[in-house]
Amino acid sequence: MELYKLTIHEANKLLSNREISAKQLAESVLKRIEEIEGKVNAFNTITAEEALKNADAIDKLIQQGEEISPLAGIPMGVKDNICTSGIKTTCSSKMLENFVPPYDATVIERLNTHNAILVGKLNMDEFAMGSSTENSAFKNTRNPWSLERVPGGSSGGSAASVIAGQALFSLGSDTGGSIRQPAAFCGLVGLKPTYGRVSRYGLVALASSFDVVGPITKDVTDCAIVLNVIAGRDVKDVTTADKPVDDYRTALKDDVKGMKIGIPKGFLDKGLDSEVRTSIHQAIKLYEKLGAELIEIDLPHAEYALPVYYIIACAEASSSLARYDGIRYGYRADDYDDLEELYKKTRSQAFGSEVKRRIMLGNFVIGADYYEDYYLKALKVRTLIREDYAKAFEKVDVILSPTTPTSAFKIGEKREPMDMYLSDIYTVPVNIAGLPAISIPCGFDANGLPIGLQLIGDLFEEKKLLQAAYTFEQNTDYHKKEPIL
């Protein structure tokens, strides 16, 4: 078996037993990148040399008999909006095309401490705005299951690289579904942790009150392993929760007997693809068979989630992206006569159309004339949506829904922004409420494209999610399928 096909936990076993070396593993992954990157286009930067050097160092540790972390020597890819010291962090934008941060994100610091090996930085929608990775300023990443299709987004490179064997796992970021949707489109496990469970320090801000970093992995066990390392309070991010971190692997039990699974009323009625509906129904039946209790729940304000999300997220984004002015770092226009021209030309030339659209929408809704009707209104409806979930979690342990209304669509298929926004309909409400959610593979459609199942938990109930997801995985084979490239 090719080493790049291993999961984290399989590779860790082989490394610990010295059956393989970290160098062999890294070489296998780097070779795979070399072979298929021309088809997949997942990477903005490949750090092969550094990766091999780090692998050597880890092999020395292993030879010295040191006990190693479950992530030691594991090749990983990182979404290109997570800062890596001395390595370009571009956000797939012309604005940051040559930006080299002199600091690491906290999640990178933690993964480095655990000796995970960075193999490269992954393509994404520019500044994480999008659901297909088509908004990258550099290239379209392709879905390894069908190269004419999108891998999802915004963490498209993160998902495509893992399913293609170019990394054993990756980090993504999720503001409105950007981990779960690409994980679903690529047949992977993607976890959006509770807001504040994982530090945002060094994650380039899209929307401060929604953003969270999370893993994209080949199975649920790997997901728990990565979460163990990245979760926890960070003094550099005052919005992280001061709550102890569980050992998430203790949640990996094949058991949902008595677990209460909520099915939102009306969620499976309209607006979704029939094959997705069928797969979700089968998943529900499987849970029932395994002893879970299914309870219909009501989320009456769910239909307002998309406008609430776009108003608040764009307001926050317009503010977070105001700093890109061509003065301290990043792109700067060549010719300008005065300061205003420097600003305007720099920003107009270096931001893509989706970024401009959202910045303008954001500035519009926080303008003095519209603040109350749009921005403040959205903050209030955000409260109603949170309350819906709080009520639901009085009755159920997890909530089940599709991750996306359809499987992966074709590159260039969705041209109107509203069309694209609607593909986030199942994922966005979760970010509004800050809840944890996981997407796991639950089937394939007639085109051989993966379908994702989303499980949503109450705040900080990642363990319940992982247990429900693990049980599903133990009783299905979807996660074992591989695309042919």
């Binding site: 002199p102 929760a241 998309l306 003065i327 990043g330 659209r357 303008m360 959205a378 409806v381 922004p417």
Partner: protein
């Protein structure tokens, strides 16, 4: 709501963006369709609802007033597109 050309021009200026005439047209359409969708929110009575700014009830996280070393100027300025050895350069500002 329907967005006007004046709205788009104002918000483009606030965003420090230059839009071509075509881009302005497109922006009117896009913003109008998103905001018309957003007008759905006005169906809801939210008079007695508190806004949610953050989802977690975290409060009072302060830093002690203790100096931490700043970063070397050379490092902090290495990404500057236009600078002297010690300062960032911008076009002359006339007030």
């Amino acid at each position: 709501m329907k967005v006007s050309i004046e709205d788009v021009e104002l918000v483009a200026h606030q965003s420090q963006l230059i839009l071509s005439e075509d881009e302005k047209e497109k922006a009117i359409q896009d913003l109008t369709s998103i905001l018309e969708y957003a007008d759905k929110l006005s169906e809801l009575n939210t008079d007695d609802v508190e806004p949610t700014i953050q989802v977690l009830p975290i409060v009072d996280v302060f830093r002690e007033d203790e100096i931490r070393p700043s970063m070397d100027r050379e490092v902090i300025m290495q990404n500057a597109p236009h600078a002297t050895e010690d300062s960032f350069i911008v076009p002359k500002i006339v007030e």
